[in-house]
Amino acid sequence: MRAQIEGSQAVAEAVVLCRPEVIAAYPISPQTHIVERLSRMVKQGDAGRCQYLNVESEFAALSVLIGASAAGARTYTATTSQGLLFMAEAVYNAAGLGLPIVMTIANRAVGAPINIWNDHSDSMALRDAGWIQLYAETNQEAADLHIQAFQLAEQLSSPVMVCMDGYILTHAYEPVDVPDQNLVDAFLPPFSPVQVLDPSDPISIGSMVGPEAFTEVKYLAYQQQLRALALVPEVAGDFERQFHRLSGGLCTPYRMEDADIAVIALGSVIGTIKDAVDELRLEGIAAGCVKIGCYRPFPSLQLRAALEGVSRAIVVEKDLAVGMGGIVSVDIRMALQGSAVPVHTVIAGLGGRSISIASLKRMVIEARAERLNEPHFLDLNTTVIDAEQSRRREQRRAGPVAEQVLRAVNAIGARTT
């Protein structure tokens, strides 16, 4: 039923429609509304025999699911930011063991400095942990991707992260069509595990593997992820046939047919970019945009095809590889290797900074004029940077950076958001 609801509620409802059997979670903003709702639905009996465990850490949350999944249960958790990093060891372990766990990442910056607002630093840090990573543009897509995620995870025996922007999506009210149980049941059959801890058929799981076989085990994991490149669009296609709407997929172009310049991004900022593209088009600039819906495995060939014909590409990414620059843009350059298309890295929206249509348009215009530095930090307050850098040159014991920058921002005047 279509309703005006919060993103977190939509996701919680979609997860329950998937008939999970074990949910374990530890609270962290901005994931809390999802798990609060799930705990309520489980407690009032809306989720059958599903067990909801309040655990003592994110590490425990995912560890519980590792056990539950190995015992044959459909499992779910949600986390973000510090929580994702706190469970990092188990994130790798779940993938290495081939357990089809589904986890929502309510994307949030990673400290220090501590920051509860949105960017993609958290999921990017674990992009190569062996999980499939899907990114949602809207709350409708976030809800839909969870239903697809269980299907993908269980077909591939691989865990899946559904990444949705913290606050921007998790706390936004917008129209979402939460599907009917019978349609979800028809789309998602009961979990049939490829390995299960069962006294009637005892197996050992998690043995040590030495140099004689480790490479082969890892190669098979690599092959398995590549299978997802075929399966993600297939599942999205099945989903469209069942639910009559497009959600998910590897990458999705917008006004790219005759585009000269492409903006590439992940997540909710795609909506803002689409509006910016429309305005640029009215001003005579042939802009287009490409959404990366599935980041791991990385759809190199599909992105290369989507970018065919452009003379310039700008990657807007909500993350930063200190000491390198962009993360996604490096992947895009690899996808485009051999072509002469310049690829710009634009770091934007860090720690929740609002990404405006005006800034995005300015970015495109500057890029066309070859005036974009590499990497470019969108809306960087250079006055504050200059002041802080000169202060640090003059003073050895300059104190903690974050506090000094806060002071400078307040003295010089904050951007109003």
Binding site: A3, Q4, E6, S29, P30, I116, W117, N118, D165, G166, Y167, I168, H171, A172, Y173, E174, P175, S268, V269, G271, T272, K274, D275, G352, S354, I355, S356, I357, T416, T417
Partner: protein, 199 residues
């Protein structure tokens, strides 16, 4: 597209007001998007929330910096936060106060707005009357419906009843209706700047 920015303090239901507004617009058959100015603020700290209402799908996610409507739930913010920043000169202003625009020291600024676009509503008093607490968010939404005509008061009431089942919802709905009717009656007076005082 109509863009609304709501100012208040933690604990005053600012985020809820934006959510209710979006639900009311949805009931009216429009597209709507509500989201908070994400903070980890505790009770009493300044809080902002946004709502966009449009006839077509809303895609942008940027913060509302050029609002068409500003709602101020807590008048103590008027001279602490730039509540009117970016507000369109043709925009609407709803302020929760029992004082006049002059008494609030805003007459010079607000007199430039079109007739009927500035509403000072004793929303907190209406809240006390119906809910025994100075809850201003739902009355101000009633005032919003009356002043802007952008959503129906019935849709505001239905959003409130949906969000708050039972007597809490009924009392909030009554408060919204009272504020709505008060603003409508004052609008009929056709004063330049509207001071919707409770009699």
């Amino acid at each position: 597209m109509m863009q609304v920015r709501i100012h208040g303090r933690g604990g005053q239901g600012v985020v809820t007001a934006a959510e209710l507004l979006s639900m009311a617009a949805f009931t009216d058959g429009r597209y709507a998007q509500a989201f908070p100015s994400f903070g980890s603020e505790r009770m009493g700290a300044p809080v902002t929330a946004f709502c966009r209402i449009d006839e077509r799908v809303i895609r942008t996610r940027e913060a509302v910096t050029q609002p068409d409507v500003v709602i101020v739930q807590d008048p103590t913010l008027l001279h602490q936060v730039d509540v009117f920043g970016g507000l369109s000169t043709q925009g609407y202003v709803l302020i929760n106060s029992t004082r006049s625009v002059e008494e609030l020291g805003l007459d010079e600024f607000l007199n430039t707005f079109p007739h009927g676009h500035v509403c000072v509503v004793p929303a907190g008093d209406i809240g006390v009357k119906h809910m025994k607490r100075p809850i201003a968010n739902t009355p101000l939404l009633g005032g919003f419906a009356a002043a802007t005509g952008a959503i129906k008061i019935e849709s505001v009431v239905s959003a409130i009843r949906q969000k708050f089942p039972g007597s809490l919802g009924a009392r909030n709905a009554d408060a919204a209706r009272e504020a709505h009717d008060l603003v409508v009656s004052r609008l009929r007076d056709d004063k330049g700047v509207l001071h919707a005082r409770a009699n």
